[in-house]
């Protein structure tokens, strides 16, 4: 009984962390069609922003939930103005440019923070469930993961800003004709995407040893989740994160973490063979 609760929490945790890792990319790549290879570095910088703030005496929750997303959002803003806005609609070029950016950010982080592993400890103590001890921070990640998802759904579906953003991404000329400046909409959307990536990096920072090259660990999972999700942003993210999170944990518990990772990739290959446009091209059609 206790074990099944522990396992359930680990499953939810795996799903929530996939949602967090992929949310920023879902906005920047899924909505804006910018292949952001610097996504992992946005997360890495989110982690460093948190650690720097905590070392300066800031409350860790404030650092993770406010400082990191805003800092990375602002960095995203500068990048968008300087580089990305010249590349909308040019998929391959965005890939090259953001790859360069990713190398640049890794180098920058090495210069500023050095090449050693750093980190902060988790702010939430462990809990006992019956005979088992479990990382209390897992619950925090689960909650934040689902709040992020709900918030994205609410903003995109329930507010005027979300409507304008969706419309502009579909047909920018029409949005312009109706009096919205696509330039500004792109800018704000990119800010949100970068901020979400920064948030994910910040939330995961207490669980890992952070180095300037940490971003690389997340990038593959993030792209696979977003691509397998398909055209519907929120439902796609939720369904693919659930699918991959479940597969990963299933094999991790049954066999080992390595097999879990391998099966995640194998199932992604099979899934994309059967549903090349992603899960939501077939299921939940027309949903959000």
């Amino acid at each position: 009984m206790d074990l099944s609760v522990v396992i359930l929490v680990e499953f939810l945790y795996a799903i929530a962390s996939l949602i967090l890792i992929s949310a920023g990319l879902a906005v920047i790549f899924g909505m804006m069609k910018v292949i952001n290879l610097a996504h992992g570095e946005f997360m890495m910088m989110g982690g460093y922003a948190t650690i720097t703030a905590v070392n300066a005496g800031v409350n860790i929750f404030f650092a993770m939930l406010v400082i990191a997303p805003i800092t990375i959002g602002l960095i995203g803003l500068i990048i968008e103005r300087l580089i990305i806005r010249r590349l909308y609609g040019r998929l391959i070029d965005t890939m090259l440019a953001t790859w360069g950016l990713s190398l640049f950010f890794i180098g920058l982080a090495k210069m500023i923070f050095g090449n050693t592993t750093t980190g902060v400890s988790t702010p939430i103590p462990g809990l006992s469930i019956g005979d088992y001890q479990i990382n209390g921070y897992n619950f925090f990640i689960i909650i934040i993961g689902f709040i992020v998802l709900a918030l994205m759904l609410f903003v995109l579906k329930g507010t005027r800003a979300g409507l304008i953003a969706r419309g502009t991404m579909q047909i920018p000329e029409m949005a312009a004709a109706l009096g919205c400046s696509p330039d500004r909409v792109y800018l704000v959307t990119f800010f949100c995407g970068a901020a979400l990536s920064g948030l994910a990096g910040a939330i995961l920072a207490p669980l890992v040893g952070l180095t300037p090259s940490s971003g690389a660990t997340y990038i593959a999972e993030a792209f696979i989740t977003v691509i397998a999700g398909g055209p519907a942003l929120i439902i796609g993210l939720l369904s693919s994160a659930s699918f991959f999170g479940t597969i990963n944990q299933l094999f991790t518990f049954a066999i080992s973490p390595i097999v879990g990772e391998v099966m995640l990739l194998v199932s992604a290959v099979i899934l994309l063979r059967l549903l090349p446009q992603g899960i939501t091209s077939k299921f939940f059609k027309g949903k959000f």
């Binding site: 592993t117 103590p125 040893g209 080992s256």
Partner: protein, 406 residues
């Protein structure tokens, strides 16, 4: 005036020739020590303090009048954590710079990349790093600890402080696999039982499911020879789940690169380790070493196991040169094989003639408040793992890295 390729080549050849001449003249009255380390890139946390330790040793030797009446010059190359550069710089050191001895290499891969070049060019080579053991080559001397030296003393101590059921989590490459085998052997020898062994590739950083799995097995002790920044997450997540208060941890790697200073006292306290060196070693030799380091570099925070091994390696070589009265490779090997020993910051270091590894003091320690508190010192431990497979006295032409079977 025309400037074609031919004139360019003659010109540069003349220049090169001219620059070689005076250098060759200087070389006669100085001894050249080649150093090859990753002082930038992902391994620089290991390499930088090693480079500092090497320079500290050489400055000390030169300040005391050098060796054989000559000053020692350092020829150092930064391999930038790139294995391909090791082969390139090894060629440069041995063929162009014509050094008398080479110290360096960090990862086992880097050592194997340059070992044969050193052997072919008859350049004496010192590898000053804790590694998986088993290298058997008359041209190389190894001053770091091997798994058996650590595990032999750490396992009985850890078992005594916990219980008989041991769960092993190891890094998934030759170091982790070989070390895991040694742990299993010594657990068995000491009346314990290994209940499970899990291996993790170096990029795994999520240990949540593993921690749950460990609890379903319910061991008395977890042994974790994990390696690198991603694996550091295990110790963090272990503490975050509150497990550090329930099941004791032991490791052969935690702290070797000063990684225990990244963990908070709450996360790190109580982890049992065994090394040749600890900053907290309270001996006159270590205190004066730390003082020398602090005078040279500001403070002594960066000193770690590998840096001290490097310092001891350079000092052992220098002592051999003094005793042999020459820098000739063969004479030095003979001198070192007499069981030469020096007193380093971590205690006495004796060269084992049979394996060219080091007989070292091993200290059992517990991590406490981001330091390593010494609990017990076991003097002069033999490299028993390598001794099992390697006998350079009987087979001086051996040139293999043995995979030790247990």
């Amino acid at each position: 005036m025309s400037f074609n390729r031919r004139t360019f080549l003659t010109g540069t050849a003349c220049l090169a020739g001219a620059s070689v001449l005076p250098r060759a003249a200087i070389a006669a009255d100085s001894i050249k020590l080649g150093s090859i380390l990753d002082t930038s890139g992902i391994f620089d946390a290991y390499g930088k303090p090693m480079d500092m330790a090497m320079r500290l040793a050489i400055n000390e030797i030169n300040a005391a009048g050098g060796l054989l009446g000559k000053q020692v010059d350092v020829v150092a190359y930064d391999t930038q954590s790139d294995m391909a550069l090791y082969t390139q710089y090894a060629q440069q050191l041995t063929r162009q710079d014509d050094v008398d001895v080479v110290h360096g290499g960090i990862l086992s891969a880097s050592r194997e990349a340059i070992r044969q070049t050193m052997r072919k060019t008859n350049t004496l080579y010192f590898y000053n790093v804790q590694y998986e053991g088993g290298v058997c080559d008359r041209n190389i001397f190894i001053t770091g600890v091997t798994p058996a030296q650590q595990v032999e003393v750490l396992v009985p101590y850890a078992l005594k402080n916990s219980g008989k059921k041991v769960y092993i989590l190891a890094a998934d490459y030759n170091y982790g696999q070989i070390t895991a085998r040694w742990i299993q052997k010594f657990v068995g020898d000491n009346g314990g039982e290994t209940v499970s062994v899990d291996f993790f590739p170096l990029d795994v950083s999520d240990f949540g499911s593993t921690i749950a799995k460990i609890q379903t097995v319910g061991p008395d002790l977890v042994f974790a020879p994990l390696v690198g920044g991603n694996h550091l997450s295990f110790f963090r997540q272990w503490a975050a789940a509150g497990m550090n208060k329930r099941i004791p941890l032991a490791s052969t790697t935690m702290g070797a690169g000063n990684d225990h200073k990244v963990l908070t006292p709450d996360e790190g306290d109580g982890i049992m380790v065994a090394y040749n060196y600890s900053q907290e070693l309270d001996t006159p030799a270590n205190n004066s070493f730390k003082e020398k380091w602090a005078t040279a570099y500001g403070d002594s925070n960066l000193i770690h196991e590998l840096a001290v091994s490097t310092y001891q390696g350079v000092m052992a070589w220098a002592e051999a040169v003094r005793q042999a009265g020459t820098i000739d490779r063969d004479d030095l090997i003979v001198t070192l094989e007499k069981g030469l020993s020096i007193d380093g910051p971590a205690g006495k270091v004796t060269i084992d003639p049979q394996t060219h590894h080091a007989v070292l003091d091993v200290h059992i320690m517990e991590i406490e408040n981001q330091g390593m508190r010494v609990i017990e010192t076991l003097p002069q431990r033999q490299p028993i793992d390598t001794q099992e497979v390697c006998d350079l006295q009987a087979n001086p032409d051996d040139n293999t890295q043995y995979e030790i079977e247990i």
